[in-house]
């Protein structure tokens, strides 16, 4: 990177810090930006700054928002008795895209992972308990990822929420839509047997 004059090297270094951007991509992006008309580069820079300044976490659900509380928490048409717990704000978007869910959310901002130093105190778990203790919640859907960390987080929350008496459910582990039974591995199959339902 010493081949480049200061500002170029600086731009490459900053881009390289972004997730999924290796040294070569950072270089490519930097040269792309340097070719842009000044006005366009300004729009890009402003978009980054404005987003960073205006967007914060909703004080109720922890989702990304430009207004506090967020639009989902303010929406009267959404069922406040139903809360879906997810790991990240992007999971909210994934579920919203199904247009199938009319409850509210709770974003944990991560999953339990002691090897990364993420214990229960690092997640928005106290906020979840508070929401439930304030009353009105009937069901909590545990929508954490279906990997070891997501499963442990869900099991841990289920234990924690049990005394509160609310109904606790877990997103079904199962076979992919369009998947052939014979190609499913034993772990997936046995998990989907556990999660079978009445027809």
């Amino acid at each position: 990177m010493t081949y480049y004059v200061g500002p170029v090297a600086n731009l490459i270094r900053e881009l390289h810090k972004l997730p999924g951007i290796g040294p070569k991509s950072a270089q490519r992006l930097a040269f792309f930006i340097l070719q842009l008309p000044v006005a366009e580069a300004q729009r890009l820079a402003e978009a980054i700054l404005v987003a960073r300044e205006k967007i914060s976490y909703c004080s109720i659900c922890g989702n990304l928002t430009d207004q506090d509380p967020c639009s989902i928490c303010r929406d009267e048409a959404r069922n406040p008795a139903l809360i879906c717990v997810v790991e990240q704000a992007r999971d909210v978007i994934a579920i919203e895209k199904t247009r199938n869910y009319r409850g509210r959310y709770h974003v944990l901002q991560g999953a339990l992972s002691p090897m990364d130093g993420i214990g229960p105190e690092k997640l928005r778990i106290t906020e979840l308990i508070d929401r439930i203790q304030n009353g009105g919640v009937q069901e909590v859907i545990l929508g954490t990822n279906l990997n070891p960390e997501g499963d442990v987080t869900a099991m841990y929350l289920a234990k924690l929420l049990k005394p509160s008496g609310v109904r606790v459910t877990r997103l079904a582990h199962g076979l992919p839509v369009g998947g052939d039974l014979e190609y499913a591995d034993e772990l997936t199959l046995s998990k989907s047997l556990e999660g079978r339902r009445e027809m």
């Binding site: 339990l112 002691p114 090897m115 229960p120 070891p148 442990v152 924690l160 591995d185 034993e186 772990l187």
Partner: protein, 339 residues
């Protein structure tokens, strides 16, 4: 399986080398340090995606070249006289990206573990003695890698078990472990369910391994005393299981899955304070061992060099036959320096 053709590029001492193999037995003959073992190492790479010398991928690059490549033409059906069903298997490593790409007929392979069934390889070498003499980890590795190849779901279960184990151990070492009962309980629950499955798989499989190892050992060593195989478990109720009888009298592990789970769970709970002090999980399939006995003496400690070598060979030959039965392909057997 047949290795028809092998090409190496910047692998160990080979800059560019092409070798055409015969359809039966191939012998590589030469003085020391000519690269015979490096050749075998390359063939091993085709079956396992890594070196048997337990070195990282960048250490087999020749000098300071940017990477290495192994290309092989492999034949599955030996009955096909003109080898028309030849597959091309390619492994390319780049130093810059630190990435290893595996291609079968130009299509990228997503999982390295698939190689185990595409080009099965069994190796026997003098460096193999730790399998008998070494730590329990060596024998678990043998057992696990065999089970991974014959039951793809074993691999998944084991991988998940290992992941939860690492998490539990980190949690045990964190200062907060003492005041969070629920989290430890959660890990115990996950570990005992996954661990019981691992045990189930192992118990189902061991009678067969035991049968083959005994027969091969008898043939190789020519001894009258019968070899016996014991599974040494860290769970109290299954402390020592001897897989010494025929398949009809095997332990019906399936029947007691739930008792294995509860046994494991209670023991984890009982040892919680010990584990916290030690900073790791002291029981489970990750601590178990296989014991081979001849006339009541453990060959690991009390076997002669000859007995130990015979046992290693018997284990490798059993591996070969079991793989052949399960994946319907006869593995390539590599014998390194056995004479």
């Amino acid at each position: 399986m047949l290795l028809k053709n092998l090409e190496l590029y910047h692998f160990r001492n080979y800059s560019e080398q092409e070798i055409t193999c015969s359809p039966s037995i191939n012998i590589f003959w030469g003085t020391n340090a000519q690269g015979k073992s490096n050749l075998l190492e390359a063939i091993y790479y085709l079956g396992y995606g890594r070196s048997y010398r337990q070195v990282p991928d960048d250490q087999v690059i020749q000098w300071d070249y940017p990477g290495w490549r192994i290309n092989a033409q492999i034949v599955n059906n030996l009955m096909d006289p003109i080898y028309q069903s030849c597959d091309s298997l390619d492994i390319v490593y780049s130093r810059e990206t630190k990435k290893k790409t595996i291609r079968l007929n130009q299509h990228n392979l997503s999982k390295i573990s698939n190689l185990g069934t595409i080009f099965p390889v069994v190796l026997f070498s003098p460096d193999d003695l730790p399998l008998v003499k070494g730590s329990p980890g060596e024998r678990r590795y043998f057992l696990d890698s065999l089970l991974n190849r014959i039951y793809p779901s074993y691999y998944k279960v084991n991988q998940r078990y290992q992941r939860n184990l690492t998490q539990r151990n980190h949690h045990l070492r964190s200062s907060k472990a003492g005041n969070n009962k629920y989290l430890l309980e959660t890990y115990d629950q996950e570990l005992s369910e996954l661990g019981a499955r691992i045990l189930q798989f192992r118990f189902e499989f061991l009678p067969m391994l035991s049968k083959y190892v005994k027969n091969f050992y008898r043939e190789i060593a020519g001894e009258k005393a019968e070899l016996s195989l014991l599974y040494l478990s860290s769970l109290p109720s299954t402390a020592q299981i001897e897989f010494n009888y025929g398949p009809d009298k095997t332990v019906k592990a399936v029947d007691y899955y739930s008792s294995l789970v509860s046994n494991f769970y209670t023991t984890l709970g009982r040892l919680r304070n010990t584990d916290r002090q030690r900073g790791f999980t002291s029981i489970g399939p990750h601590r178990d061992d296989l014991v081979f006995r001849l006339a009541n003496k453990n060959l690991r400690q009390f076997g002669s060099q000859g007995q130990q070598r015979s046992l290693v060979l018997a284990l490798r030959l059993s591996e070969l036959v079991i793989l052949e039965n399960y994946i319907a392909r006869r593995p390539v057997l590599i014998l390194d320096d056995v004479f």
